[in-house]
Structure formats: C-alpha cells, structure tokens
C-alpha cells in the first residue's frame, strides 16, 4: 500500500485533515471524561439503600395548639398505624432517610479516642421504636432487635433526648466494621462523643444508605446507628412499611383518616417513599442525562466533520480518482485508500486527544475529589472514535470507489 505517497499527499493539503483531527481530539477528551463522570454520578445515585422503598411511605405532622400532647398522640398514632391491615411496621423517626436531613455523632469503642479532634467514627443516627428495622425494610444479619422495654419515651427536645440515650443500639455492618475491625462488634459497648453516653450493640443490619451522597462522603451515608428513642415533638415524622402491593391502598386510607385522629395536630404531608428516593437523586440523574446528551452531540458534530471532509475530498478528487482507476486501481484499492487516509487523520486526532483527555481527567479528579480516570475509559474512547470514524467515512469512500475510470478522459 502506498503509505508514503498517501502521507506525502495528505501533508500537502493538510488544512482539512488538521481540522478534523482537532475535532477528533477534543471529542475524545470529552467522551472519555464525560463517560467517567456520568458513570460516577449514576453509581452514586444507584447505590443499594438496603431499604424497601417500594412498599414504604412517610407521614409528617405538625402541632396545631401549644398544649398539644405529643407523647399521647405518638402512642395513639403508632397503635392505629400498626393495627392497619396490610401494614408491616410503623415507627416514628427523628429524620426521614433520603431527605438529606441528618443527625450524627462520633462513636468509638474506646472513650478516650473521642476526646481527640476528629477521633472516633462518625455515625448517622436514626431514632425509632422496636419497629424501626421492619419499617425501613432493613435486614438484620446478627443479634436481635431492640427490647421493646428500652424504648425511651419522647422528651421535650433533642438535647434532652440525647442526654437520655438508650442502653441498646443497632448498627449497620459498615459501622460495625469501622468500630470493631476484628469483626466482633455484637455485644460490645460503644461510646458516643459529645453526649458522653454509651450503649451496647445488640444487632447489626446488613446495609443502610441513609442518603445518596457522593462517594467521597460515603462514610456519612453508610455508617448508621439506630437507637430506640421516640423522637421529641411537637412535629411528628412516621415511616410506614406495608406488605407488597398494599402500599397505595394503605396510603389512601391513611390520607383519609389520619389527620382527624388526633386533635391539636394536622398532617403536613404524606408521600410514597420511592418518590422521595427518586427526588433525592434527581440531581445526579439530571446531570448524567445532560452530560450524556451533550457528549452525544459533540460526537455527532465530529462525525459531520469527518463526513464533510471525506465528501469534499471525493468531490475535488473526482478526476484524480478516475485516473487512478484508469491506470489500474480496482474499486477495492480506492476504498482502502480512503479508509486508510481517514484512519490516519482520526488517529492523529486520537493521539492528541489522549493527551487532552488525561490532562482534563487530572483536573476533574482534583475538582470532584474522585479517583483518577481509569485507563480503560481511554481505551474505550479510542475504540469508539475509530469505529465512528470508520462508519462516517464509509459512504463517501464507497462513492469514491464507484467513480468510473472513464472520468479520466473527460475534458470538462
């Protein structure tokens, strides 16, 4: 194959090819990095939560009157909810998971560590009754549920609630591992910083992702501590889990009746939990879509550039191509010439693009605090652009190959 001649001819009229190579370079940088970022965002959004949102909903209430008896109301509410047919469990909570409202403390096996700045293990805390685990759909993999007798009654405020810390706690497996790397967390005493209280781990749940946080804040999402405390009022927050398929019917029933059950309080909102979870990751999904769509269009524009250059190339070289055929080239030779020429142009772009992609990758890693771009993205991007470049030039190349040798003798 006449590589030397091809390169020599290419170099002599290099403007068009250079423009296409530049587009390919920028496109590669964009495709590689955006694919990585989109993957990051989707994986941040798609982490398993450990909870059974399809069958859960929540209720928030607020007090109407200053003398509202929250303690009595909570008791009655829970009795009503747990007795409803179709309900698996209902619990009051301090914060609803997936709403980015959090409460956290540092925890440690050794109370001395807690006095050091940043000492201990941060844990996100959820209050609830002994129905908490079932209401969230969590899977207990070791130990037991709370003893119903240790559930602390609601206090006047959070400060006092923390001060009356319960003697038991259930932790997520991640939390257990961090607190007791040797794996013997069950039955151990754990101290909580700032409140100077301790409790015993009576149970471990497999996984709970409290909120869909980006990966560098992972520890604040999966290190969870469940405590048997009924959150203080006067605002109420309940999470309810139903049997499969019963959720909508139960929600409708609750929507009708729950507000009127207690005087002195009203329902602020009732919402299906999968809606809440979807809203929580709306930002990630939206971003992923925007970046993907934009990347697609960048590739499309570059494809247009490749096709344009190839078509122009064929149109201006018609006489030349006819002559080549006249002097003995088969259609296959012409096709091959175009494909190789295009491959050379694309590859020059790809080489420059790799440099740009890596440089941009370093910047993005630093900015988003994510690990460096893995090289297989680069490989994938290069392959994609080779394939795309090949497909783009195919039609013009086939057209070129079908130019008749008789074109050589034409005088117009």
């Amino acid at each position: 194959m006449e590589i030397r001649a091809l390169l020599s001819a290419l170099w002599r009229s290099k403007t068009g090819p250079l423009l296409v190579a530049a587009q390919v370079a920028l496109t590669l940088a964009v495709v590689v990095n955006m694919a990585y970022i989109v993957h990051q965002k989707l994986s941040d959004a798609g982490k398993p939560t450990g909870m059974d949102f399809g069958n859960m909903f929540w209720i928030t209430t607020q007090a109407n009157t200053p003398d509202f008896n929250y303690t009595a109301a909570v008791k009655a509410d829970l009795q009503y909810l747990n007795a409803l047919p179709g309900v698996v469990a209902a619990t009051p909570v301090n914060n609803r998971p997936q709403t980015f409202s959090n409460m956290g403390l540092p925890f440690a096996a050794d109370p001395q560590t807690l006095l050091n700045p940043n000492g201990g293990v941060p844990g996100t805390i959820y209050f609830g009754t002994d129905k908490l685990i079932d209401a969230l759909g969590l899977k207990l993999i070791a130990g037991r549920n709370f003893d119903p007798n240790v559930i602390a009654a609601p206090t006047a405020d959070f400060g006092t609630a923390m001060a009356a810390w319960a003697p038991e706690m259930i932790v997520s497996q991640e939390m257990a591992k961090k607190l007791f790397p040797k794996g013997d967390a069950l039955g151990k005493t754990v101290y909580a910083g700032l409140i100077n209280k301790s409790a015993v781990i009576v149970g471990i749940v497999e996984r709970m992702q409290a909120n869909p946080l980006p990966s560098q804040y992972e520890q604040f999402a999966v290190q969870v501590v469940l405590v048997p405390i009924i959150a203080p009022g006067p605002n109420g927050s309940y999470v309810v889990r139903t049997k499969p398929g019963r959720r909508d019917a139960v929600m409708a029933e609750v929507d009708k009746k729950f507000g009127d059950l207690q005087p002195g309080r009203f329902v602020e909102r009732i919402e299906a939990y999968d809606r809440t979870a979807a809203d929580a990751v709306e930002g990630y999904r939206a971003n992923a879509i925007i970046l993907s769509v934009a990347t697609f269009f960048v590739v499309l524009v570059t494809v247009i550039g490749i096709v344009g250059l190839a078509a122009f190339s064929v149109a201006t070289r018609t006489k030349q191509l006819g002559t080549r055929r006249a002097i003995g080239a088969r259609k296959f030779h012409i096709l091959r010439y175009f494909l190789v020429e295009n491959w050379i142009i694309t590859t020059s772009g790809v080489v420059l693009g790799c440099v740009l992609a890596l440089a941009a990758g370093v910047q993005l890693s630093r900015m988003y605090q994510i690990p460096q771009l893995p090289l297989y993205y680069l490989v994938g991007g290069v392959l994609l652009l080779w394939v795309v470049g090949l497909l783009a030039v195919l039609v013009p190349a086939l057209r070129a190959a079908s130019i008749s040798p008789a074109v050589a003798t034409r005088t117009v």
Partner: protein, 235 residues
C-alpha cells in the same frame, strides 16, 4: 493486438439515447502507431474509453492481445489495464499533491511488485523521458511539457503492451508538442503499440495509419509510409 468487430456503445438518459459507437470495426497490429481522428462528438473519446477498457461495450466483440475482453467484470478490466495498458491524457492527469516520483509510482502499486522492483522501473522510466533530476517536484512546479513527460513515464513504467494517448499534445505549444511526439515515436520504435487520438493533422500524418471516426464509425483509413524515429527528445 486490438481487434474490434461491430462494437457499439449506447448512452441512455431518461430522454435521449445516443449511439456513441455503432458497428465499429478495426484492427491494430502489434507495434503499430495509429492515429484516431474525428470532429468533436464523433465518438473518439468513447472509442478510446472502450479500447482502454475504461467502459464496457454494449454490442459486438473486442479482442485485446488475443483475449476476448467483451464481457469482463470491473476487476478483470482493471487488471488488464494495470498490466497491459498505459494511458496518456490531454490534461496530463497527474495527482497534484504527489511529487514526480510518487506520480510515476502510482500504477505500480496496483500490481504485486516489490519496492526495489518499483524503484528500478521508475528510475528507468524517468530516465527515458529525461526527468531524472526532478523527482521531488510537484506537478505545479513543472511546465506543461514536463508534466506530460511525467505522465508518459507513468504510462511506460509498467511495460504495457499498448499505450492509449488522448490528445497528448493538446495543451502544449509547438516545440513541446514536437518533443512529446518524438518521444512517443521512440517508444513505439521500441515495440509498444500506440493508439493516439488527435486533432492535429500534421501529427496524424507521422504515424503508420490513421483511422477517421465519423458518427461512431470508422470512416476512412489512411496508410502512411514508414518513418524514422528521432533518437533523442531534447529537454
């Protein structure tokens, strides 16, 4: 070498049908130098296209170098052109982005040939046409006469049986025309059959025979006395 029996070629469009060649018959012996003359629109170019296997014929029989080439595939025709036919065009048809060396090299790539073999042939051809010193020039840097000589080198480097020349001196001045003609006569004297389409009656008379085409058919045939080739083509 070239034998055509009742060859016809028809061009069809939606509206009109043109018989560019109709029942054309002729015979060219190996080693002959024949001229094809005719007015514009007479079918000269179509004849050349068919003769050079650039286009298929629609009717009749065409025997080239003893082989029936009337109904061949595109690849087969390309193969024969590649091995046995050399072309010279009125507009030189050099590839503008390639230098002289690569231009001459072009047809050799379509045959299986090693690098050293190609180099040998190219150097020999360029020597023959007197352009060994300008291998790195691109066509835009050469005069018309030089460009045509490069084209001739390209045509002969494959050792073709036949050279088909389409108005080879059409774009050249008198002096250059003479030189090119002398070169062609030299090549013919060495044994290559040449068919030359031309407008120029003086040139037409320097060859063995002249076919005159009118309306797609051979009208007259003139025979000329044998001639002596001039030995060198001065630069």
């Amino acid at each position: 070498m070239i034998e055509m029996h009742n060859v016809s070629k028809v061009f069809r469009t939606d509206v009109v049908q043109t018989h560019a060649l109709r029942d054309l018959s002729l015979k060219v012996e190996p080693g002959e130098f024949v001229a094809i003359t005719g007015h514009s629109g007479s079918g000269k170019t179509t004849f050349l296209n068919v003769a050079g296997l650039l286009e298929e014929l629609d009717g009749g029989r065409y025997t080239f170098d003893g082989q029936d080439v009337s109904r061949l595939t595109d690849n087969q025709r390309s193969g024969i052109r590649s091995e046995k036919i050399g072309f010279i065009f009125q507009g030189f048809n050099l590839i503008p982005d390639l230098n002289v060396y690569h231009n001459v090299e072009a047809p050799l790539y379509y045959r299986r040939m090693s690098g050293p073999e190609r180099h040998r042939r190219i150097t020999a051809a360029l020597d023959r046409v007197g352009l060994s010193t300008r291998t790195k020039h691109i066509p835009a840097q050469l005069s018309g006469g030089q460009q045509q000589r490069v084209a001739i080198a390209r045509a002969i480097c494959g050792d073709p049986r036949v050279i088909l020349a389409d108005e080879p001196t059409g774009n050249l001045d008198t002096t250059m025309s003479e030189q090119i003609m002398d070169l062609l006569l030299e090549i013919n004297a060495a044994g290559t059959t040449i068919l030359m389409v031309t407008h120029n009656p003086e040139l037409a008379q320097r060859v063995h025979r002249q076919f005159h085409i009118v309306d797609g058919q051979i009208d007259q045939i003139h025979q000329f006395k044998r001639f002596q080739a001039v030995t060198t083509a001065a630069v």
